[in-house]
């Protein structure tokens, strides 16, 4: 990386174009198989995540088709359970997490002025083991007796005593996904610690970098615990141990404690990078500095720390003593304080700003409003006595889809619309993008908002049939679901057009109010950037 001919004058990257001449981009399939370039790997991650988003979405379509009317008409209950399980696993581990890792790969080196990720070969591995993991998971659906049908949370004894042999494949694929995430997280941490450009002090780092750094620490702290949990399920099922089997001295409730010790930090793993993205986009289109930068950093760290002491709020109905329920209730409610700080900071950033509403900003504002709705329903679920009523109903489904679809997924879409011109050098089809935004926004609310009502009225989740009084709402929910699914095909069309490099060329800065190192390099971003670190003032 330090060949004399490659050196460009520090700080001159913005105007420099002669560095294009050493962009020897390899050709063909081996470029992608053997690549150690952070931009290539970022692209691979993002396309993989998008394909998984469509696959997991197709499963959601099966679920909504079955629930379109009461009774059993399209799929067998066992297959329905496989769909809810694999939909959850794919969306969490195959869509949202790899999409964030893809964004981290593309953006973190460009944002901190590094030439690449710190560990490029490991980077290649951490991506290329992922498709294998999901092939294993998906192939288990075609085994005799079907794939995993115990919910993405794989509670024992459903996943031990009552599951079929495909559980082995499930465990193996989760192990590989976990290894991939851990390698990705280690790479992010080492990159941020060791490869920041001179002058890029901690408190000058863009918030996307900050939130990803904290996310990466969460990942290396809890993904190993998940690996431990699936290992215990594996040995309980196949090797005669009794971690979760009461008959052998184990405890099935302990499974839930171990799982949610991983599971709650995991939900923040899926939302903290989203906070970072929104914190990049809102200032750009408000043409103001982010309000309360330092408080954003501290709020992110507080959320991450609190996430380790709230796990049992998923288990209020397991028969905990009252004082423990009180502890987990108040600890959970405490999280709304740093989260509230973030929401108020975004609103304060927009306050009296010179707002324009380009596509990324539209998604960002939708995120702020709809994520807050999801946060508030989460606050309702945190209230222990109320949770006894809402537990395992569609209210919970509504809650986590508001935070994960209109939260995490919308933030990823916002990020793609924000940085895509930098990646391709061309402005995407904004007409299609507007169609995508409005169709998604309307349909996603038709899809998820009525779930609050059927949930409050007592409709249980993960059941292929329901009582007649829920029929009308479910019809609307399913129609919203189909519309949201189809809307994503607009996104697919837009992305294909963008990858064919159609559209108007964009400037280096792309967006008028954009600030940061990634907007100082040429558009499209050259294959190699910042081979000589820039100096950050």
């Amino acid at each position: 990386m330090s060949k004399a001919t490659d050196i460009i004058a520090p700080g001159s990257a913005a105007t420099d174009t002669h560095d294009d001449h050493h962009d020897h981009i390899p050709k063909g399939i081996t470029r992608w198989l053997f690549t150690t370039n952070h931009k290539d790997i970022g692209t691979l991650y993002l396309w993989f995540a998008f394909i998984m988003f469509l696959v997991g979405g197709a499963m959601a379509m099966v679920i909504r088709a079955e629930l379109f009317q009461p009774g059993l008409q399209i799929v067998e209950p066992n297959f329905f359970n496989q769909m809810t399980t694999v939909h959850g696993l794919i969306m969490v581990f195959g869509a949202v997490m790899p999409a964030f890792t893809g964004l981290a790969n593309w953006l973190i080196p460009m944002m901190i002025g590094a030439p690449d990720m710190a560990l490029p070969r490991m980077n290649n591995w951490s991506f290329w083991i992922l498709p294998g993991a999901f092939l294993i998971l998906l192939s288990s659906l075609f085994m005799e007796g079907g794939g995993p049908a115990f919910g993405w949370t794989f509670y024992a004894p459903l996943s031990t005593t009552y599951s079929n042999d495909s559980t082995g494949l499930f465990v193996f694929s989760v192990h590989i996904m976990g290894i991939s995430s851990i390698m990705g997280a280690i790479n992010v941490i080492v990159t941020i610690f060791n490869m920041r450009a001179p002058g890029m002090t901690w408190m000058k780092m863009p918030l996307f970098v900050w939130t990803w750094l904290i996310t990466a620490f969460l990942l290396i702290a809890v993904m190993p615990v998940l690996a431990g949990a699936v290992t215990m399920v594996l040995t309980d099922k196949f090797f005669g141990t009794s971690f979760f089997d009461a008959a052998g001295g184990g405890d099935p409730v302990m499974f839930q404690h171990i799982f949610w010790f991983f599971g709650h930090p995991e939900v923040y793993i899926m939302i903290l990078p989203a906070f970072g993205i929104i914190s990049q986009i809102v200032p750009t289109f408000s043409r103001k500095k982010l309000f309360g930068y330092a408080s954003m950093v501290y709020a992110t760290a507080s959320i991450a720390l609190l996430s380790f002491v709230v796990w049992a709020h998923h288990m209020f109905t397991t028969g905990m003593p009252v004082y423990m329920e009180m502890f987990f209730m108040f600890a959970t409610m405490l999280i709304s304080v740093p989260t509230g700080v973030k929401v108020f900071n975004w609103v304060a950033t927009m306050w009296r700003g010179s707002l324009t509403f380009e596509i990324p900003m539209m998604f960002a504002i939708a995120f702020i409003v709809l994520f807050t709705i999801g946060g508030l329903s989460g606050l309702m679920l945190a209230i222990t006595p109320v949770d006894f009523q809402y537990h395992d109903t569609y209210f919970v489904v509504a809650h986590f889809h508001y935070v994960l679809v209109t939260g995490a997924v919308f933030s990823i879409m916002a990020a793609v619309y924000y940085w895509l011109p930098k990646w391709t050098g061309k402005m995407y089809d904004t007409g299609l993008a507007k169609w995508h935004f409005w169709c998604s926004l309307i349909s996603v609310n038709v899809l998820f908002f009525p779930m609050h009502f059927v949930g409050l009225a007592g409709m249980p989740r993960r059941i292929p049939d329901y009582a007649l009084q829920f029929a009308d709402f479910n019809k609307w929910i399913s129609l919203g679901g189909f519309a949201f699914g189809l809307s994503q095909l607009i996104f697919l069309a837009l992305l294909i057009k963008a990858c064919k490099k159609q559209g108007e060329p964009v400037s280096n800065q792309v967006w008028e109010g954009a600030e940061g190192l990634e907007w100082e390099i040429p558009s499209p971003a050259p294959y190699h950037t910042f081979e000589t670190p820039p100096t950050v003032k």
Binding site: A118, L119, I182, I186, I189, V190, F193, N194, M195, I220, A221, V222, M223, P224, V225, L226, A227, G228, A229, M232, G240, F243, A246, A247, G248, G249, D251, V253, M254, H257, I258, F261, F262, M320, P321, M324
Partner: protein, 195 residues
């Protein structure tokens, strides 16, 4: 220090965290029991015999102990407590018999798992003898009366005057090894059927 060295050092540190957290996941298993034990929240009773020596009987108080029995899914045994509830003084030794019958056509080994509600009472329930300490084999068609002898610790908090001890019977034949049904000391002799 070169960049590569610094990176490697950091990777090693982070991998230590990863391995440590993997171990922590497994450490949660004993920690869970220890925590439940200290806080007295899981309703689990001691799995070994308590001694009954120099225990003072508190004649001024009564505690009602109720017995509930159930069998796990797929466990065919009949299982009931001979006495539904007993009223004892704290410190007083008491024995309750549990009746089991194996109506299946195969030999089955059972394991009873206790659970006390409210959970805090479990800390004060001391068993000097219990069928639940061991696996219990029964031949097809055999029946048995299995004793459980216990006393309630006089330290029992004043506000607990009533608690429930539940036994769930699990079929553990598959993991029981070669326990011989004849070894069961509690078995009721079967009348000769004149084969």
């Amino acid at each position: 220090m070169t960049q590569a060295n610094a990176n490697n050092k950091m990777v090693v540190k982070l991998l230590i965290i990863v391995v440590g957290m993997f171990g922590f996941g497994f450490a949660l298993v004993p920690l869970y029991d220890v925590f439940c034990d200290i806080a007295g929240i899981n309703g689990k009773t001691e799995n070994s015999a308590a001694s009954y020596q120099s225990i003072e009987i508190d004649e001024n108080r009564h505690v009602t102990v109720e017995f509930i029995t159930r069998t796990n899914t797929g466990m065919p045994w009949e299982f009931r407590a001979e006495t539904a509830r007993v009223n004892v003084h704290p410190g007083e030794l008491s024995t309750v018999n549990f009746y089991v019958r194996n109506p299946a056509s195969t030999n089955i080994v059972a394991q009873a798992i206790p659970s006390v509600s409210p959970g805090t009472a479990a800390l004060y329930l001391n068993k000097t003898e219990c069928f639940c300490f061991n696996q219990q084999p029964l031949e097809a068609g055999a029946e048995a009366y299995m004793p459980m002898q216990f006393y309630v610790d006089p330290q029992l908090p004043e506000d607990i005057t009533y608690f429930t001890l539940q036994y769930t019977l699990y079929d553990v034949t598959a993991r029981a090894g070669d326990l011989k049904p004849k070894q069961n000391p509690f078995i009721v002799p079967q009348p000769e059927t004149g084969k």
